[in-house]
Symmetry: C2
């Protein structure tokens, strides 16, 4: 019989990942495809009860899109500059707390979920100052200094890659990439001349029609062009700052490779580890107030 | 009773537009949604027979994706530099000719349909030399000199706009634009700093969440950013060359506005007029050989 002290939840748009916790120790983990995208606000209590069935009663701390306006209960954004320490909003009538996202007013930007991963990074490396890069659908570049999120910027790189490779004319020409050297050539090409990159997208299609560009190579070139383009646009974040890349293994590997390839200093941390460490930091704060 | 001398067809991916012609004179026009995208090669004869029902027998000249590898019969590309005069490929056993597309080997690029519009432009303005801009799903910039297509480049601007505004997270934030001044500001902003534009896309979403960015204004900004970005990348085509913009009215108006706004010399021609004039030029050549 598992009796968690508390329960950690990463409740995003498409998935729910949940852990039975004893302090910082994982007792058991479960997951479900009941993401925010398919739930109405009044469905959350039943989904949660089903997913934690057998774990008994324990406080739940959740991060991610569960706290958006379309989620269970809106956990309003805190505004930059803001302490990295997670800010919690209670769900009325439930033993559940949701982590607030972070907003920036000018230029406008938002994050929800990444703030918890940054809190996890600082739990592991309390003195970290520098840039955090969180690749994903909307990659975030974040300046962290003295325990505060100072500023950040989101890039639609992941979503663009997915749209272009699955839903544009390039879907006929772009396959899974497999050649790190080809990827790196495209990163450097786009970084050296990001303006010209815009005109290189259609060439991934035409190169297969009139030339001998293979699907795999086109895939390496597409992700290299987009990431190189993003790196050009985010240069102030990685130029002269140490970068910590936090994300899913395949994605953080690509960004780490690209950053190393252009001579920037970067380290990596697993996105799941960071999320869980951030939720542990939130629990440390919350338990003293219960 | 209509008895055309010949029949002109613009047979694209999603639509078929067809005209009963007497020399350069239109007797009647019809259209159908039987585009290349929904037809198998053996279905074309029946669709054509149905659409021209009552017009009697007459030679048909068709341009567009009907001549692609996935179309009725492949009309192989001619390679740049190539005469603007339409190159025709006969469909065996049919009184039908298809206009060849144009390819460029390095950098790789292709067009199919636009070559007919450029032939139409030269039928109307035989001495035209300069740049032709053909906005659409994949906007083409083409250098035309002394009756030849010298070189060209395609940009995925139209498809990117459609994907971003309908299928990305921006679909929640981007509506139909309605403010030419806002559009022009975004064009100039992107042209002045195309590298930064990549990071301004997500701001169209965040600006609505944490600020007061309206859907219409976000729509103007999205099309302005993408077109400004394209103009930066295609600069060698419009800088010091007169530009003829050929396309659908709403689209050519946007490009004409953008080009005028940045001080480039541009004129416009209706895409449908250009296609028909190009098919007329093809008929002039073909009829002497029948």
């Amino acid at each position: 019989m598992i009796r968690p002290e508390w329960i950690a939840a990463d409740w995003g748009t498409t998935n729910l990942r949940i852990w039975a916790m004893d302090g910082d120790r994982i007792l058991e983990s479960r997951s479900s495809s009941d993401g925010m995208g398919v739930l109405k606000p009044d469905q959350y209590p039943a989904v949660l009860a089903r997913v934690i069935d057998g774990w008994g009663k324990a406080p739940v701390i959740a991060c991610g899109m569960v706290g958006s306006r379309q989620g269970w209960r809106e956990a309003p954004y805190t505004a930059t500059p803001t302490l990295v320490s997670p800010h919690l909003v209670a769900v009325p009538g439930q033993d559940v707390w949701i982590v607030s996202g972070v907003k920036q007013m000018d230029p406008p930007d938002v994050m929800r979920g990444e703030e918890t991963q940054i809190a996890g990074l600082l739990k592991r490396m309390p003195t970290f100052s520098g840039t955090v890069c969180l690749p994903g659908t909307h990659t975030k570049w974040v300046r962290v200094e003295d325990g505060e999120i100072i500023s950040f910027q989101s890039f639609m790189t992941g979503e663009l890659y997915s749209l272009l490779s699955n839903h544009s004319v390039l879907r006929h020409s772009v396959g899974e990439g497999d050649d790190p050297a080809e990827f790196m050539r495209a990163v450097k090409e786009a970084l050296a001349d990001p303006t010209a990159s815009f005109g290189r997208l259609f060439q991934l299609r035409a190169g297969g029609l009139v030339g001998d560009l293979m699907r795999e190579k086109a895939g390496d070139r597409l992700s290299g062009l987009l990431i190189g383009w993003e790196l050009a646009s985010a240069k102030r974040y990685w130029d002269e700052h140490e970068v910590m890349v936090i994300g899913a293994p395949r994605l953080f590997a690509l960004y780490h490779e690209a950053l190393q390839g252009i001579g920037a200093a970067s380290s990596v941390m697993s996105g799941e580890d960071a999320t869980l460490a951030g939720l542990c930091a939130a629990w440390s704060n919350l338990k003293d107030t219960l």
